[in-house]
């Protein structure tokens, strides 16, 4: 059933005031008791998907706390943001997690940062803040000065440490420093022999308090640089998403040459990221030659980025309103030559590697995530596309120069590690193809918008398709060249919880490959602690104080 845009808007206006913020983006203000109902309609009945929940302390502006639920309607190319005012004296809001399990972390995050209580949430525990964080201190509230807090916390670091009691179970800790991940995340796997019975995720080791730093210290044009450092692999899409959000909020028209340059670097980033992922996958399968060969090819892409932007990673290219560096004809020629090299090499090597017996036997039918589970958890990007969900921000919510190039969105139905690999495999070559079109058709003109004026307290939504999936930034502009509220939501945030579904019943040896198959980018996500899955450990093996003490 296809519902048209006007029908949706009509329906929404029955619930509250509909406000068009920029093209295809509508904010709907509803009363707190309607949030659940409207979320259910948007996510389950109209074919949209839940994307992010943003908490916000708007007491200085209008005296309320706010919660924004962002929904993306791929079919109608709409972004709909449902928001509700919450009384700061009793900050309560009905939870939408019972209807959309994917909202679990989002709501817990808002609880951590603002102290908003989500009624009916199955498990409203601390998610993000460090283990020794004091109770009842909500860092993103505007009346909390973090510098003071920081000094206080640094002095008594161990205040409030709850000794984590060892459980009498056979726990295999993956992380925080697991060689497979190269990032400090902590999965607890409950195993029986070599079989995984249950999994827990304790993450957010990389929570660096980015939102507060940005809101308190940085100016509008400094934030793009911190946004890029959300993630060192796919940082540029965060950078673009932030700039788009501000541009959308302020109604700035970016020159089309700048849009092309953004798209070019986004695609370069995607190619590098996917090649990196293949390298890591092969490494995890014990096939180091694959890792070496793929990274050898990837090196050329890194060199290309260095020539175009001046650095191999963290391109530092964007400001609000455009880009900082132009691409001349010599660089275009160099790019095209590099792309040819990468394409032929990658095809030759990857084709054969994906046919290797060990690779197939250790990825096919491993780490299954079916379509309905994927919908429930609201997964995005290649993970969703490998589970049969046709979603791609570039196609359905076009930004930068994507409306002017042709490309296909690969979708596979199997939902296993192998199909996730295939999605990425297809995307590499789609991206290279896209890059050729972009480089050849790049229009002449300015690379920076002329007049940049940013009004205060305007809302904007920036969407990009990161290599790992859709990337959402919600921005509320502030006074004095600052941002009032900025919430970046990285794709891994939605995807990580799906690994817990994938891991159950699989073999321990496959765990790293499964976790890696969503291409987790923990630093993206981290802005967190325990996923409570019903335990049914049948045979408990007692080993004193296992991992906890010594797994490092």
């Amino acid at each position: 059933m296809h519902t048209s845009t006007t029908e949706i808007l009509d329906l929404l206006s029955k619930y509250g005031k509909v406000e068009k913020v920029h093209e295809n983006t509508y904010f709907v203000e509803v009363s707190t008791d309607k949030v659940r109902e409207i979320s259910e309609i948007l996510h389950w009945k109209l074919g949209g998907h839940f994307s992010v929940t943003v908490g916000s302390d708007e007491r200085p502006i209008n005296g309320y706390f706010k919660v924004y639920h962002v929904f993306l309607m791929d079919k109608q190319k709409l972004s709909i943001i449902v928001h509700a005012k919450i009384n700061p004296a009793i900050p309560k809001l009905p939870s939408i997690t019972p209807i959309i399990p994917g909202a679990n972390w989002h709501e817990r995050e808002a609880h951590d940062f603002f102290g908003i209580v989500f009624e009916g949430h199955p498990n409203l525990e601390r998610l993000i803040l460090p283990y020794d964080w004091p109770e009842n201190v909500y860092p993103l509230r505007k009346d909390v000065s973090v510098r003071e807090l920081r000094n206080k916390l640094l002095k008594n670091r161990n205040e409030g440490v709850k000794e984590r009691k060892a459980e009498e179970k056979y726990i295999v800790p993956i992380g925080p420093y697991h060689p497979a991940l190269h990032e400090p995340e902590y999965f607890e796997l409950y195993v029986e022999g070599e079989k995984i019975i249950d999994a827990k995720y304790k993450g957010f080791h990389v929570h660096r308090g980015i939102e507060k730093v940005a809101e308190e210290r940085l100016t509008i044009n400094q934030i793009p640089f911190i946004a890029e450092r959300i993630c060192g692999i796919c940082g540029y899409t965060h950078n673009v998403a932030y700039c788009q959000a501000v541009e959308n909020a302020a109604g700035i028209e970016v020159p089309s040459r700048a849009k092309y340059i953004r798209s070019i670097l986004l695609e370069i980033e995607r190619v590098h990221s996917h090649l990196l992922w293949f390298g890591v996958l092969f490494h995890l399968l014990g096939f180091d030659t694959g890792f070496m060969m793929i990274w050898l090819i990837r090196e050329k892409i890194m060199d290309l980025a260095e020539v175009l932007t001046g650095n191999r990673k963290t391109y530092g290219l964007n400001l609000v309103g455009g880009v900082r560096r132009d691409i001349d004809s010599k660089k275009i020629e160099f790019s095209l030559k590099t792309l040819d090299y990468v394409e032929t090499k990658a095809r030759r090597v990857l084709d054969k590697m994906l046919k290797l017996k060990e690779v197939i036997s250790r990825t096919k039918n491993i780490g299954l995530l079916n379509r309905s589970e994927a919908r429930k958890l609201s997964v995005v990007g290649p993970v969703a596309r490998a589970s049969g969900i046709n979603t791609d921000v570039r196609k359905y919510h076009p930004y930068a120069a994507y409306s002017e190039v042709e490309f296909k969105v690969p979708v596979y139905d199997e939902g296993d590690v192998y199909s996730r690999a295939l999605v990425r495999y297809d995307e590499i070559f789609e991206s290279i193809n896209m890059l050729r079109q972009l480089l050849k058709n790049i229009p002449k003109g300015n690379i920076m918008a002329d007049r940049i004026k940013i009004p205060e307290y305007r809302k904007g939504l920036g969407l990009t398709e990161a290599p790992r999936g859709e990337n959402v930034h919600l921005v509320i502009t502030g006074r004095d060249n600052k941002i009032y509220r900025w919430r970046p939501r990285a794709p891994s945030y939605n995807n990580i919880s799906s690994t817990l579904v994938m891991l159950k019943g699989e073999s321990l040896a496959d765990a790293p490959a499964i976790i890696a198959s969503i291409d987790p980018c923990f630093s993206c996500t981290d802005h967190l602690v325990i996923i409570d899955i019903k335990r049914n450990v049948k045979r408990r093996i007692r080993l004193k104080e296992l991992a906890r003490r010594r797994h490092c």
Binding site: P179, F287, M293, E358, S507, L508, A511
Partner: protein, 297 residues
Amino acid sequence: MENIVFVLANVAALLIIAPIIDGIERKIKAKLQCRKGPPILQTWYDLVKLFKRPSIVTEESSLAYIISPYIIFANMVFALALVPSFTRISLSFFGDVIVLIYLIASSSIFLAIGSISSGNVFATIGANREISLAALSKLLMALVLATFATLKRSLTLETLFPIIPPYTLSAIVSIILFAIIAYIESYKLPFDIPEAEPEIIDGILVEYSGRSLGILKYSIYLKRILLFTIIVYLILPREIPTLLTPILYPASTIALSVTYVCIETYCGRLRIDQALKFMKTLVPVLLVVLIIAYFNY
């Protein structure tokens, strides 16, 4: 007495050459991965550094954890003394095939015991895997050696080296099978499951450090060269002049290790159950070969 001197010289030479062979393997592996690779003496540099570093002993680690590296090392040195290497002279009168299997198997078990007693969860999983792999591979090895014994109607190492002639089907097949088992035994991909780095952080070796780690690594290199030596001498004909063996032996050992590393470079790791399945399929094959050998074919 003269023999003893020769044997000591042999063993000493093997002790020196074993890490160098690993160095050669690393170099070749690197070349196959388009890299320059470490110098050939790199493994020696690593070992020397490890020997100079202290090994950490925590309160929880038991005696088994501390002494098992040394037992394994002694086992390997003794096993090397039993087989001929640069010269055909060896201590083989001390023991036969059974002793050899015993030495190899017991070092696996000591390795497992040592790492279990370290108390680390990864080490425990590594040890688990090591035991299940070792149990099966030792069974296979016993079957192959039984085949050899059946062919030669003897258990002493003297008579087993070389196995050819006779050029029977069972002799050739069993040598090939032994080569496969040696490959599995030497912790090479896709069978390096007990020390799988990404899955369980270097598994069995995870808690060892400094000197004990050096000794353990050294023992693994020695085990590899032991297996190579056995294969070489299973094939190397007795008629070769004594003076040529000191050249032929290292040459063929290196050739063998190069072959192995070429295979290894292009393999991914198997899952433990896949590896076990592969090894289980070898059992009936070996039994058939054993029967054929009994009838001297």
